[in-house]
């Protein structure tokens, strides 16, 4: 029940964001120099930021970009984890050891430092969309090890189950076994991993953006929008500056409730 409510609210938020983005004249990058750091007006329902951009549209784009990017990165990371975990479980012990050592290696790397390092070494001329793709790709590339370990354990248990032995005895090839029997049984493990990764990636992107190492301007992202809180002048003029934080917390709470339910 709670899960359904969360899904519906999340879907409504995404739908509202899509509508706001598609409204005539809506632009996340257009600057209105006449109205800078303003509160709600007839034209800008959530006010404008410190360079006169529509905050409402920017938050809507940030919702779509954050959720879309994090979901895509989570899907990639879950797929990598499923592949590595299943491969380790079905291959020779030496290969399994190497793969698990690789996952240990990735687990030993401090995430944020690595993200900062890779992100900071991107070319200075990186386009905003390219920086968004790179940020989420890095997140996806670094998020798989913990999930891969869980998948490896799960697959090992499945591998020694009686119905798998029966399947092998019946002459099913490893690929067939994986596709028809192992993957469907791993879904209850992979779905929560995916759901855990989505809010984790959103938070990671927000933290990177707060440090100025996330998605480049003018593309709106959670991290870039949270940087507005540093500007005490805009905080004094309008309470709408808090809108990105409120929406971000709402999205994360909804995602968290989905994870808890699963």
């Amino acid at each position: 029940m709670k899960r359904r409510v969360s899904v519906v609210v999340l879907a409504l938020m995404v739908a509202a964001a899509c509508v706001i983005v598609r409204l005539p004249g809506a632009s996340y990058s257009a600057q209105d120099r006449e109205v800078i750091s303003s509160g709600a007006t007839a034209h800008y329902w959530a006010g404008t930021d410190d360079v006169g951009r529509d905050r409402g549209v920017r938050v809507a784009v940030a919702v779509l970009l954050g959720l879309g990017g994090a979901a895509a990165a989570a899907a990639v990371t879950t797929a990598i984890a499923a592949g590595v975990g299943a491969l380790a479980a079905f291959s020779a012990p030496a290969i399994a050891s190497v793969l698990m050592l690789a996952s240990d290696l990735f687990l030993s790397l401090p995430w944020l430092f690595l993200l900062m390092m890779v992100r900071s070494f991107l070319p200075l001329t990186t386009s905003p969309m390219h920086s968004a793709v790179v940020t989420f790709t890095i997140l996806a590339a670094l998020g798989w090890p913990a999930c891969a370990r869980a998948v490896y354990r799960g697959t090992l248990n499945l591998r020694s189950s009686e119905w798998m032995i029966q399947g092998r005895a019946s002459g099913l090839r490893p690929a067939q076994l994986l596709r028809r029997h192992v993957l469907p049984h791993l879904l209850p493990l992979l779905v929560p991993q995916f759901l855990i990764c989505v809010p984790a990636f959103i938070v990671a992107e927000a933290n990177l953006g707060t440090l100025g190492l996330g998605i480049a301007q003018p593309l709106p992202s959670w991290g870039a929008m949270l940087q507005e809180l540093d500007n005490s002048a805009s905080l004094a003029t309008s309470h709408w500056v808090y809108l990105p934080v409120i929406v971000l917390v709402m999205v994360l709470l909804l995602l968290e409730s989905l994870t808890a339910e699963v």
């Binding site: 240990d104 030993s108 900071s120 370990r149 917390v249």
Partner: protein, 285 residues
């Protein structure tokens, strides 16, 4: 004898991991698409001269071998190389900041754990305790560290230690409450409670030894979480620690400094992993 072998094996694995982390980090940096791009390139005034300098740098330290030799040479020399940004030995930059960060971590982890244990333990004794007590922690969990630190700064309430403590408490509360709850309902504890054994004896003799390995495992994860959180916290609160130095090095593409801090953090994570009983932890989670 078996314990010694186990310790040696873990130590060897940790050292191997650290060596791989070092090599991986250098590889990653060297082949990052903009490794040789520099802020000076953007300035037309310096473009020609700086381009030449950058090309010279690429020629002298461009390959992985040259980069690795330079880095490991700096370590063997004892000064961890020279900072590209400040032009001083990395040890001079890292040493004073290490103490600041260590102090912040110790305080943050201690207070965070106290908060988490002090709320999770009573909550586990109460039927709806976990749900009700967990609400504020769930809310805290939904606020990114950077935003939490900024909000604290704006409200002029609390400092880096509070933010780190709240973050860790929020992360650990649910797990701790579940561990305590499961332990309380274990058959041997139910039997002991039915026999009327005093609460303090019950907790000291039966509950704590039962949950200690899982708590130790969670403690190692807390260290990892805290290490990741120190960057935004130190940057926002202007704490002169390693996190702030790493951020500054990242913005200025200072490879030797960033590499040293990344390896220090990786060493801390690996050592924390050595202490924790990982297998049991994974099963319980």
């Amino acid at each position: 004898m078996r314990t010694v072998v186990l310790i040696c094996r873990r130590l060897g694995r940790t050292l191997l991991l650290l060596a791989l982390v070092a090599v991986g980090t250098i590889l990653l940096m060297r082949f990052a698409p903009g490794y040789f791009s520099d802020a000076r390139e953007m300035d037309a005034k310096y473009a020609q001269r700086e381009q030449t300098e950058l090309h010279q740098e690429e020629a002298t330290a461009g390959t992985f071998g040259q980069l690795a030799t330079g880095t490991f040479g700096g370590w063997l020399h004892g000064d961890l190389g020279s900072s590209r940004q400040y032009g001083v030995p990395v040890t001079e930059l890292v040493r004073p900041r290490l103490r600041v960060t260590a102090l912040l971590l110790v305080r943050g982890v201690t207070f965070g754990w106290l908060l988490a244990v002090c709320t999770a333990f009573p909550a586990s004794l109460w039927r709806n305790g976990r749900t009700l007590t967990g609400m504020p922690f769930t809310l805290l969990l939904a606020i990114p560290t950077g935003a939490m630190a900024t909000l604290c700064l704006l409200a002029d309430m609390g400092g880096p230690v509070l933010v780190l403590s709240l973050l860790l408490a929020a992360r650990d509360f649910k797990f701790l409450a579940r561990v305590f709850n499961t332990a309380w309902t274990a058959p041997h504890l139910l039997q002991a409670r039915a026999q009327g054994i005093r609460f303090d004896r019950l907790a000291a003799a039966h509950l704590l030894p039962h949950v200690a390995p899982q708590i130790l495992g969670l403690a190692t994860l807390s260290i990892v979480t805290a290490l990741s959180a120190i960057v935004p916290i130190e940057v926002i609160f202007d704490v002169p620690g390693l996190g702030q130095l790493a951020w500054s090095a990242a913005l200025n593409r200072d490879l030797p400094v960033l590499l040293t801090i990344t390896l220090l953090m990786a060493a801390a994570v690996s050592c924390a992993g050595m202490i924790g009983p990982r297998e049991r932890m994974v099963q319980t989670a």
